[in-house]
Amino acid sequence: MSKKVKTLFDKIYDKHVVESRDASPDVFYIDRHFIHEVTSPQAFDGLRKKGLTVARPKQTIATADHNVPTLNQHLPIKEMLSRIQVETLTQNCKEFGIDLYGLGHENQGIVHVIGPELGITQPGMTIVCGDSHTSTHGAFGSIAFGIGTSEVEQVLATQCVLQSKPKTMKIEINGALSEGVLSKDIILYIISKISAAGATGYFVEYCGTAISSLSMEARMTICNMSIEMGARGGLIAPDEITFEYLKGRSFAPKGEDWDKKMAYWSTLFSDPGASFDKVINFDAADIEPMITYGTNPGMGIGISHAIPTDDGTGEIDKAMSYMNLSSGENLEGQQIDYVFIGSCTNSRIEDLRLVADFVKDKRKADNVEVWIVPGSKKVEAQAIEEGLDQIFLKAGFELRQPGCSACLAMNEDKVPAGKYCVSTSNRNFEGRQGPGSRTFLASPLTAAAAAVTGKITDVRKLLKNTTYAV
């Protein structure tokens, strides 16, 4: 065996190559495959047409999330097409022997929330899903990436995809975060610096003291948005925090099996001296609470900064006209209409706790509607158990049922045309939250502050008033 120094990515990648030939892409083995109702029906259809079956049904896990209502989930889905799509998933899972956490199931939720929370996502694995935010699972030190429906079909049939090895990038962030700055701000900051296309063709490893001190949920927020700078995926080396999080979860290994896995997991780090195709360094102290002003996640600024002027490409001007904002303006004080706290980026229990802690004894501003959509049934149950639902109720925040909701607005949860929404989700594309909707991406804390004041707010100013510390 070669003693070559390797990056974490290479270690996992190389272990999963079934066959590598010069002229063709690698046959790449997939340990876990998540599916949902929107990008899987055509894949199952394809299998049937080709007379193929699912090779390893136990390695695929299904849930209904993208298209489900977030109110009255016990009733049949009203919208016909959504109902058909969810029913089709149920039928397909039954026909091919795949475990489904459908509406009403205690494990149901956003695919990238339930995988980690159930302990299905583990270090050193390869994980795919027909969804670009599959990169979330990289927080456990796994290679996780989004695929298209044709590839979903291929994984179902063969448990493999064809893959060309991407380049590697290391993003190192050292130092301590300032008060009011969360992991969401770290990733929005990185994307604003390297642009929405800055990591295209790369697989990113995040490291440095500002990363290793984060909780698992905060790490997931970072890896989640890797795709927003074009990266194939992002990962973080597993450590004690990772193992501690995993221990005891439903699908995590137990007993002897745990020890065996630990032997493998403890090899999962980039060797000293391992070389990356690109290395970028940031200082955590430079990061303020972030907010986006435009129509891609790279268009973000620190809350105290003004919207930049167009660089001659017309991109910012186009975004300004869509957002009805102007370059040179500060966003602080900008009136808003909606706040959405949810999505696979920020809908976990820590996010909800943070928001609840902040809004305790406060009330939302009259001009805003606030939706909190937990990432999963388990998060929802936990929030209720901890009494967070009561805090939200008093604050005038509406706690909905789990799903993707206004992150992509496939269901009824849409921000109306022309309205402004501060959102903890991951995409501010034109129309993403509903046709004509205008999105400001931010951390859960910045979103909660906006909910309370009805305007875009520098949360740090409120923290000082209330002696609240993060």
Binding site: V38, Q85, T126, A157, G431
Partner: protein
């Protein structure tokens, strides 16, 4: 459908970072089949709220037509939805030319018989200019020789040899992967990590 040499006119869409939510908005992803997405291609740029065509959008300008889309950098970023490739293909696009493509989109395009051609920025401004001056500018696409040309100038592009063969012969990855059943099962027996 196998991919051959051909000559056609092009549709210019100089916007950068065109994400897949623009190519096909999420509310049209409720279908359970692959067909019919073309009518909602670029839906919110193409039609107003009442469903009327927006005259300033290029697909609504009859002087521009053809099966080649020429567009700005980072085309297809965002969501992994293959519906974006299905919509482009259903509408009739066979080639997309840009300075670069988002990774997942590129794969999805190739898996659906659409050829993504990467060109440098200088060539891109030339082609945009050429189409602006003369919307009937003909572009020749020569996949077997990895070349494309317009205005009597020829440019080369790169494509993975395997993908090229798949496109030309109309094969897809599934056939190849299914043929690897033996090695995959052998791998599974030795693969003890997960």
């Amino acid at each position: 459908m196998p991919f051959d040499k051909f000559i056609d006119t092009a549709v210019p869409l100089p916007a950068t970072n065109v994400d897949t939510d623009q190519i096909i908005p999420a509310r049209f992803l409720k279908a359970t089949t692959r067909e019919g997405f073309g009518k909602n291609l670029f839906r919110d740029w193409r039609y107003d709220n009442e469903g009327n065509e927006k005259s300033d959008f290029v697909l609504n300008q009859s002087i521009f037509s053809g099966s080649i889309l020429v567009t700005g950098k980072n085309f297809g970023c965002g969501s992994s939805r293959e519906h974006a490739a299905w919509a482009l293909s259903d509408y009739g696009f066979k080639v997309v030319i840009s300075t670069f493509f988002a990774d997942i989109f590129k794969n999805n395009a190739l898996n659906n018989g659409i050829l993504p051609i990467v060109a440098d920025a200088v060539t891109m401004s030339k082609i945009f200019k050429a189409i602006e001056i003369d919307p009937t500018t003909k572009i020749e696409i020569d996949l077997p020789n990895e070349r494309w040309s317009f205005d009597r100038e020829t440019y080369s592009f790169e494509i993975n040899a395997f993908k090229k063969e798949c496109l030309i012969k109309g094969y897809n990855n599934m056939d190849y992967l299914v043929s690897k059943k033996g090695p995959i099962e052998k791998f599974e027996q030795e693969h003890i990590y997960c």
